[in-house]
């Protein structure tokens, strides 16, 4: 995997004696060869054709805006914090490799993903963002994954929450600013009123980790988000958290690209199709232990 090279690793190799360098090089080559998968798996011929058809991004370095607080999808590498890792990162780089561009990353809050793209401070957003008609006003989407949400609650589910329904009445839900789950929970307010129950309240946070912390600290009762995120939170705090239920949400996850660059959108779509054809997409889901049922053939979602 091509990734941002660390300044300090460069410095380190300079200090090493030549024999160690030779040894290191051997190991590195071995590791590259043994790497479980790489974008080279995408059909080289098809990608070469795409690069000929869409030459504008070949050899370029593009900026990918991400909200790196979602383990499994995008976080920094705990072992090497200068790198970003996760399914989205690998998928983006596979697409980049197919079209001949490299990616650098710009970490922003979830709510700032699309504004950063619209401001031209980023070229692409691959950050587990759900493609909705509302969001399509700000960017075009290439959808690539189905959405299954998990309902995260404290161990034992003290409030008995069993989905985005009236079982949430009177509870406090932690959500990220800008998440699609926010309007879904807000839509419960009239229902709860009708049922004569208290309204659910929503606490808005800046990132996934803060939402999880809100439940751990007892400030919030639930956090509804991508099921894999919920699973990884449960894995991190098995004594304190649990997944109440998984629910289907009528959205797809999408790669966001600027509205004024339809050619780029088409290029990314074509490359994603190639990446899927080569089996890379499926391999990546397995590599990051995500549910293979998430797999979805790509579509374009625009505002009109």
């Amino acid at each position: 995997m091509e990734r941002r090279v660390l300044p300090q690793t460069q410095g380190m190799s300079r200090a090493l004696p030549w024999r160690k360098i030779a040894l290191g090089a051997t190991i590195a080559v071995g590791m590259v060869a043994a790497a479980p998968l790489s974008a080279q798996a995408a059909a080289p011929a098809a990608c070469a054709a795409l690069q000929a058809k869409y030459p504008d991004w070949k050899g370029k370095t593009l900026v990918n805006a991400i909200n790196p607080h979602t383990p499994g999808y995008e976080t920094i590498d705990p072992k090497d914090p200068n790198n970003y890792i996760g399914f989205d990162i690998d998928l983006g780089e596979a697409i980049g490799e197919c079209l001949g561009f490299k990616l650098t990353y710009k970490p922003v809050t979830f709510a700032a993903l699309l504004t950063t793209l619209a401001a031209g401070q980023a070229d692409i957003v691959i950050s587990d963002i759900y493609a909705t008609k509302e969001r399509a006003k700000a960017a075009d989407f290439i959808t690539y994954s189905k959405v299954f949400d998990g309902v995260l609650v404290a161990k034992g589910n003290p409030k008995g929450i069993n989905g985005i329904n009236i079982s949430m009445c009177g509870s406090a839900a932690a959500e990220n600013t800008g998440y699609v789950e926010v309007p879904l929970i807000q839509a419960l307010i009239p229902e709860c009123k009708k049922a004569g129950k208290a309204e659910p309240t929503i606490q808005l946070y800046d990132n996934n980790a803060n939402c999880i912390q809100a439940i751990l600290a007892g400030r919030a009762d639930t956090y509804v988000n991508d099921v894999n995120t919920v699973d990884s939170a449960v894995k991190a705090y098995p004594d304190k958290l649990e997944k109440a239920i998984a629910v289907t949400i009528p959205y797809s996850v999408g790669i966001a690209v600027p509205k004024d660059k339809p050619k780029f959108r088409d290029a990314v779509l074509a490359a994603l199709i190639e990446v899927q054809k080569a089996g890379t997409h499926m391999e990546l889901l397995k590599k990051w232990e995500l549910d293979v049922n998430n797999f979805k053939e790509p579509d374009i979602l625009t505002a009109d």
Binding site: I76, A112, T115, Q121, A209, Q213
Partner: protein, 544 residues
């Protein structure tokens, strides 16, 4: 604990400090430059500039920094300005810091004693020299603690750059926490890193305070010099008031006033006075005011005042408080403007060009220096950050372009003349009131003025200190033949020293004439009443 240490020493976080410092430096540096401009605009005499600066302050002080960051990063690109994240964050922080720094600068400038500014103007300093030599050195000293505050706050505010993807300490910490779930260790570690940084700023602040402390090196030859360690919070050294120091210096032996044996008797005999009056009557006119009028709003301060003073003449202005004595003096060297009438000094209309148009403050300052009108103030108005000698020598260099050697020689000579050569290196606050006033007289005399204006020179002094000052003035009048206009309440002093007294009431001269004649035989009932009141109030030690 080991996790905490692991994160504390993690290169990833430590590298974040670099960006934190970059954004802070951009914010503080840019804020200082912008703040200087804003403060200058607000203090300017052009109201449009002040209004623009005010509007800027309202906008940037009144909106959250986080919005400004996002604006600089996400909104500016829409009008074609796409800055890298660090620059965008630095710009937003600078724009946000600027109004705060401007207000600090403004407070510092306005906090400098107005009297010193007036004294500087009277010495012929241009606004620029005044700012550079008198206001800034004092303002900066008072502003250091506030600057320290601002630097700490800017450093912390730089964490908001995380919202625009600057990989500084805060953003790195939150990302790390998201991927490792080690919230406590990570936030404790980054908190400690911030503390180390802000502590460093505090140390720098204290060091600069110590460096600029006027008492660090000056004049405390026998006393312990102030050390940097004195600034540590647990040391209880009085850094502000100088009582201890004053007491220490009061004990300095005042050399016996060298009263040369060949000095002529100080009071003039009747014949001498007559001869002197005859000489003066033939002299040129030094100062002339004609029909001078001035009001503060509805209150009339000067109502058509006419006064003529000839070269070598000593005129005492008498009259109750508010009778216009001070205003008249201040109009003579154009420290104040007036509504109507003319003032001529040495035949020139000070502060106006040949067509009678008002000159710029800078040009007026230059003219004051050329015409040579010295002024001594009731409150001394010595430059508080300069030694006695520098108070005299400094203006000679800055206004009259003297070399340091010449200016120092002149200052030493004048301090010797007012009997203070032994206190040349003392700061004004280490001098008694009488000593300060004598330094002020030396300062006013240094450029050899053609006229010396003294505005109640002994009114702010303790009774026992009055004589030492009157003595100096008496010598100037009698030995040097200096033209002087003195506003005073010292009736007997006026009688002895003045050739003529003018009695002011309600902004006009209601009686004037030879000093002895008017004082012993006033014709106007107001004068008579004032004199009799003064006579009963007279402090016995005021005059010898």
């Amino acid at each position: 604990m080991s996790l905490f240490l692991h994160y504390l020493s993690m290169p990833y976080l430590l590298e974040g400090i670099e960006l934190t410092l970059e954004v802070t430096a951009l914010g503080l540096g840019g804020g200082l430059i912008l703040g200087l401009i804003l403060a200058g605009m607000q203090l300017s005499r052009f109201w449009v500039l002040a209004a623009i600066a005010r509007a800027y302050t309202v906008i940037f002080r009144g909106t959250p920094l986080i919005l400004q960051m996002v604006f600089a990063y996400d909104a500016l690109p829409h009008i074609g300005i796409k800055l890298p994240a660090v620059l965008a964050a630095g710009l937003a922080l600078a724009c946000n810091e600027a109004p705060f720094i401007a207000e600090m600068l403004r407070a510092g400038v306005l906090g400098v004693d107005r009297g010193q500014v007036t004294a500087g103007q009277a010495l012929g300093m241009t606004p620029r020299v005044l700012m550079w030599r008198v206001i800034a050195p004092q303002a900066i000293r008072t502003m250091i603690p506030a600057f320290g505050n601002e630097a700490v706050s800017a450093l912390k505010n730089s964490s908001l750059a995380s919202v625009v993807a600057v990989q500084e300490l805060t953003l790195r910490s939150t990302q790390l926490a998201s991927s490792t779930f080690d919230f406590f260790s990570i936030f404790f570690a980054s908190g400690l890193l911030y503390l180390v940084l802000t502590f460093a700023i505090s140390v720098i602040q204290l060091f600069v305070e110590w460096l600029l402390d006027l008492d660090r090196a000056k004049s405390l030859t026998r006393r312990r010099k102030r050390k940097f360690a004195d600034y540590l919070p647990w040391r209880r050294v009085d850094l502000t008031t100088k009582l201890e120091l004053t007491e220490a210096t009061v004990a300095d032996p005042e050399p016996v006033q060298t009263e040369p044996a060949d000095t002529p008797p100080l009071a003039l005999t009747r014949e001498e006075r007559t001869r002197r009056a005859a000489t003066i009557a033939r002299n040129n006119i030094a100062v002339e005011t004609k029909d001078l009028t001035k009001s503060y709003g509805a209150q009339k301060v000067l109502g058509g005042l006419d006064l003529t003073v000839r070269v070598g003449e000593v005129v005492a202005l008498l009259g109750p408080s508010g009778s216009g004595k001070s205003t008249l003096l201040r109009c003579i060297n154009h420290l104040e403007s007036w509504d109507g009438g003319t003032v001529r000094v040495g035949g020139r209309r000070l502060g106006f060009d040949d067509d009678g148009k008002l000159l710029s403050p800078r040009a007026i300052a230059n003219e004051r220096a050329t015409v040579g009108v010295g002024m001594v103030f009731q409150q001394f108005n010595l430059f508080a950050h300069l030694s006695a000698k520098e108070n005299v020598a400094g203006p000679l260099r800055w206004v009259h372009g003297m070399t340091r050697i010449d200016a120092d020689r002149r200052a030493t000579e004048l301090l010797d003349r007012v009997g203070l050569s032994h206190r040349a290196d003392a700061l004004p606050r280490h001098l008694s009131g009488g000593q300060q006033q004598r330094v002020a007289i030396a300062r006013a005399l240094a450029p050899n003025p053609s006229v010396l204006l003294l505005d109640e020179p002994t009114s702010a002094l303790d009774p026992e200190l009055v004589n030492e000052v009157l003595e100096v003035i008496r010598r100037l009048a009698i030995d040097d033949g200096l033209t002087m206009i003195i506003s005073t309440h010292q009736i007997r002093f006026a009688d002895e020293v003045a050739d003529r007294v003018a009695f002011l009431s309600g902004g006009a001269i209601i009686e004037e004439g030879p000093a002895h004649e008017v004082l012993s035989n006033p014709r106007n009932p107001l004068t008579a009443r004032f004199l009799s009141v003064m006579e009963t109030d007279k402090t016995p030690e005021a005059v010898r």
